[in-house]
Subunit: 479 residues, 2 copies
């Protein structure tokens, strides 16, 4: 980080290289540290990309950014150091002296002694223009360059911190991390549209040809079933990886490739325990992200979703609401609002219903539990409150998004699971899954959280395509 080449000390001007505890407030700690030593501050080399150039008669101002924080470093130079290539978007290396800034907006600035343009920028064809705030829809067209915009830069730093926070949460709570497979011969839910895998060779030749894996294979829609196998050894396990849906949906909440956080807990007999982990995960990760990158988060809460901040702070303090599916249907039936889909026991909750429920409960996260048996996949646990009446399932609905997490107790009783799989004609395919119930089966359950929807919610980002580095959706797979 701090190399010494030719007597110059290379310096990243933000603190992301510091131990985690010291990273807040996010910027300039390292620079402050350098200022503490005269020698260190006197011969400093800073590298980054030019975010602004302002040439006055007596002085040249530059802002340069190396992506380690939202804030750029101000460089003050003699106008004689200006050159043709020193433009918005160019990469530069500046040597000089770090000093206290006379301006209120920044702690330090760099008094340049030499400016070297490392890589010029063809500003005419560069899709971003200086000092313009480009809409998210516009920058989305340039997936290889949009990380250089303030919004996507902040977003991806937050995504990185959120990823770390989620890993830490599980590790600190005794979970073993499992890489569940991406290519699978299972179809987890018996539903959902799948991507199928072939080799380039197979595609060229006839489809009759033998599969690479001997059997048809798909991109995973969930790591749950594989996690269940692991929970039978490690008690608590989690996975955090890509999952896929071949759904032809252009909604602002769906992607063909997205990330899921999934956890599975053995020796768990109540949905309460699962909900507790969901709520704890959500609150811990969110608090961590807010405290690790306050400036980046502020950008969204200030410019993208101004109402979000207060709401989220409130939400972090209160317990999430819990209602049963029965109660949900009653609430919807008594609503003065007319729905496109008439609320009826036994029918799925539609987006309009979810929205109403969340609003009805005070615009807070709401757990809905105990869904009708026939609405849910085969692995969910029969509540035995009637003949195949409800299962121990839970969905977490949040304002602005709808379903953020889904979970359940799993059917651990061999006869129940066997008869359900038999009715579905899936006994042979899931022999291995039945095995888990033959050899030391235990009550267990788990959940999955859509990582992109989580980011959408905490930052108030409207379109899911703006919270993932390279969005994949119908008709689009850029790069």
């Amino acid at each position: 980080m701090l190399g010494t080449r030719g007597g110059w000390r290379a310096l990243r001007y933000c603190s992301s290289s510091l131990p985690r505890e010291q990273r807040v407030p996010a910027a300039r700690l390292r620079v402050r540290e350098a200022l503490g030593s005269r020698e260190a501050a006197d011969k400093v080399k800073v590298q980054g990309w030019v975010r602004s150039v302002r040439s006055q008669k007596e002085v040249l101002f530059l802002h340069i950014n190396d992506g380690s924080s939202l804030e750029s470093l101000q460089v003050v130079a003699d106008p004689s150091l200006e050159c043709r290539d020193l433009t918005f978007g160019s990469a530069v290396e500046v040597q000089g002296k770090l000093v206290k800034s006379p301006h209120k907006m920044q702690d330090v600035e760099l008094q340049a002694e030499a400016i070297h343009v490392v890589g010029p920028c063809d500003t005419l064809s560069f899709p971003f223009k200086i000092k313009e705030r480009h809409p998210l829809e516009y920058v989305r067209q340039f997936p290889h360059l949009r990380c250089r915009s303030n919004a996507l830069g902040a977003l991806l730093r937050i995504r990185s911190e959120a990823t770390a926070a989620i890993h830490s949460f599980f590790q600190d709570n005794g979970y073993v991390h499992i890489h569940t497979p991406i290519i699978t011969s299972n179809d987890c839910e018996g539903a959902g549209e799948l991507f199928q895998i072939g080799t380039s060779q197979e595609a060229k030749e006839s489809a009759e040809k033998k599969h690479f894996f001997n059997v048809p294979t798909f991109l995973t829609v969930s790591g749950q079933l594989h996690l269940e196998a692991m929970a039978g050894a490690f008690t608590r396990v989690f996975t955090f990886g890509p999952t896929f849906r071949a759904e032809n949906s252009q909604s602002r909440r769906h992607l063909a490739e997205f990330y899921m956080v999934e956890a599975e807990l053995s020796f768990t007999e109540s949905l309460q325990d699962i909900m507790q982990v969901m709520e704890h995960l959500f609150k811990t990760a969110t608090s961590t992200v807010f405290s690790k990158c306050p400036r980046d988060v502020e950008l969204f809460h200030k410019y993208v979703a101004p109402a979000q901040k207060g709401r989220l702070e409130q939400m972090l303090k209160n317990k999430f609401v819990i209602i049963s599916y029965n109660e949900a249907v009653e609430i919807l039936k008594q609503a003065s609002q007319t729905f496109n889909f008439k609320p009826e026991w036994g029918c799925d909750l539609q987006t309009e219903h979810e929205k109403y429920l969340v609003k009805h409960c005070g615009d807070v996260p709401v757990f809905v539990i105990n869904y009708p048996y026939d609405l849910k996949p085969f692995y969910m646990r029969d509540n035995e409150d009637g003949p195949q009446h409800t299962v121990a399932a839970v969905d977490l609905l949040v304002p602005g998004i709808g379903e953020l997490c889904g979970g359940s107790l799993r059917e651990e009783r061999l006869p129940f699971l066997e008869s359900r799989l038999q009715r579905l004609g899936l006994t042979d395919a899931y022999q291995w899954y039945l095995d888990l119930r033959k050899f030391g089966s235990v009550p267990h359950g788990g959940f999955g959280m859509g990582f992109e929807r989580y980011l959408q919610y905490i930052l108030g980002v409207d379109n899911i395509k703006d919270v993932i580095p390279f969005p994949r959706f119908p008709h689009s797979c850029l790069l």
Copy 2:
């Protein structure tokens, strides 16, 4: 972790739920803590799977394990508590009192007051037998159950810790984590066999039908090119995710689905800087893993690869060796050994060559740098030591494995890259990649490390199929 249900305190007997610093030595810290308070130790409930049952006239001994550590907890009970279902592999809940153990091999044991078999185990059809050490090849046939064996249990706990250690290494050094895409319309290397993606629908209908993404798409072989785009904004980035090869190889070092750690650094002009990060990553992660799960690692170093321990400790202390490709060829030419492939400047190093080089250098990790231009992919930086003579590439070879990491400086100069892509007829496909050189291009480089090979090396595991939870290889995609 420590619930109180019906007056009993549920207890996991290992320390993995403790703050990370306290996790070493791995087992029993929590139990010791409980012993500190009489009340806590008096009414304890432990859940897990039975690893052994030994019934004597006066006393019944059980060992139960919940996957949080290699060690099981000894339960001492009155023989009257035995029942038919209390067998190897069954799941149990034991209530009782935690006491100091009179035996040297363990700190504590549980004096049982009640034993409840939560889930029996059909021992006749259970593929693992009590007290037998099953070979890795045997347990590999049961991917849904093998995590319950000592070896795979230890392996997967180590894999989880290694994953965490790698994430921490990069985060502590100021890297932004990027989820590079799994589905891509690029073919990173222009080489390597690819898996192609279709929808189940497309497969059924004609291949003429429109693609889901409008263009042919593949499973990624590397996140490098996407990382390069990100390094142009964040300076330092890393990714750690699944990558794929449709190669029909049954070798003990290849999988169709495997994990890669990849990093990319901007403002980097020398291979030395890249090698330093590679070496630092390797050593930091390895030291962390060895100190976080000493007992699990010991299992491998004692029973699987007895010679590995001393060698690795030595390796962690010494600098890795660096030789050039030129030197490597000279060494091979002067070797007394006869090779199947004659060593010749301009030819790829074969496995037999890699083995010899590693041995020649003292059975230590060896960086080989500056490979012939024509051997390497288009994005590697021309060293200009002759007309298209060598590129700034590096491979890290390690004993027993061969290539563990590969890296290079990337060609950041637009004219060099343009002419190379033109010769390959790839200019149109890589327009976006050329863009990165038009808008603030900087010297940069990076590397990738095969995560499974890394685990193979540090643990001395012969077959790569034994270091991943669900191995995928030609003709096999179980579960």
